[in-house]
């Protein structure tokens, strides 16, 4: 079972915060990655550039953006951030807007984060877990749902 304590620490959460638009939402996710010691500010810029270049493909399921960029020197450690927005914002995704949860993903290489991604995939495919994640009040509660 995936252990989220190192990959998604308390410092990587921002719960029920406001963002004006998708850029600000990704910036919040990037700032949490920086606060947790996973990335430098450069990675935040790279995540925004990725959306500018390739479109809002990171909005992979209704309400969720998986913000990320390529593994690079801007990634110090593999980890995630979790930003739950108080008011959903538009990313420009035809099918999956508006976004209320931004998960920031920083990977040192292409394999290190697979176990974590697998646990997240399992949680997001389960409507009951998704509902519990949306209602959870603390980082510890969210981690325990992901680990369950």
């Amino acid at each position: 079972m995936a252990d989220f304590s190192n990959f998604l620490p308390d410092t990587a959460f921002a719960l029920d915060v406001a963002a004006q638009d998708w850029r600000e939402a990704i910036t919040l996710a990037g700032n949490e990655l920086v606060d947790a010691g996973f990335t430098t500010d450069e990675y935040t810029t790279q995540m925004i550039e990725t959306v500018e270049k390739l479109g809002p493909y990171m909005v992979i399921t209704p309400g969720l953006a998986l913000a990320h960029a390529r593994p690079s020197d801007a990634v110090l450690h593999t980890g995630l951030s979790w930003v739950r927005l108080s008011t959903p914002v538009e990313f420009g995704s035809k099918a999956n807007d508006p976004v209320s949860l931004v998960i920031g993903l920083a990977g040192r290489d292409e394999n290190e984060h697979l176990e974590i991604m697998s646990a997240i995939a399992k949680a997001l495919m389960d409507p009951a877990k998704t509902a519990r994640l949306a209602a959870a009040q603390t980082p510890a509660e969210i981690r325990s749902i992901l680990e369950s």
């Binding site: 390739l54 990171m58 990320h68 984060h113 995939a121 997001l124």
Partner: protein, 89 residues
């Protein structure tokens, strides 16, 4: 069946999609080999696969490949992925 999952960077959304494609194939009793790629190098790899799955926004990046490309709207919807697999099985 060889399936290529494509996302912008080849490390995030395509990895999630791969996991769900493997789950969908297992549910259907299909034998699949799933790999991932970033949009930039996907074109070259697409021709070695039977099916390419990606998001709507990236379909245009893959123009010119002869392998069928199916956009997936909701990467977490196993039923949508199953429909795509069944159409090309």
């Amino acid at each position: 069946m060889d399936i290529l999952c494509v996302c912008g960077m080849g490390i995030g959304t395509s990895v999630l999609l791969k996991m769900n494609v493997e789950q969908a194939a297992a549910d259907l009793g299909m034998d699949v080999n799933v790999t991932t790629s970033d949009a930039g190098s996907a074109k070259g790899q697409a021709n070695m696969n039977d099916l390419v799955l990606t998001s709507e926004e990236l379909v245009s990046e893959l123009e010119g490949t002869s392998t069928p490309i199916v956009p997936i709207t909701n990467f977490m919807d196993i039923d949508e992925i199953k429909d795509a697999l069944e159409d090309y099985a």
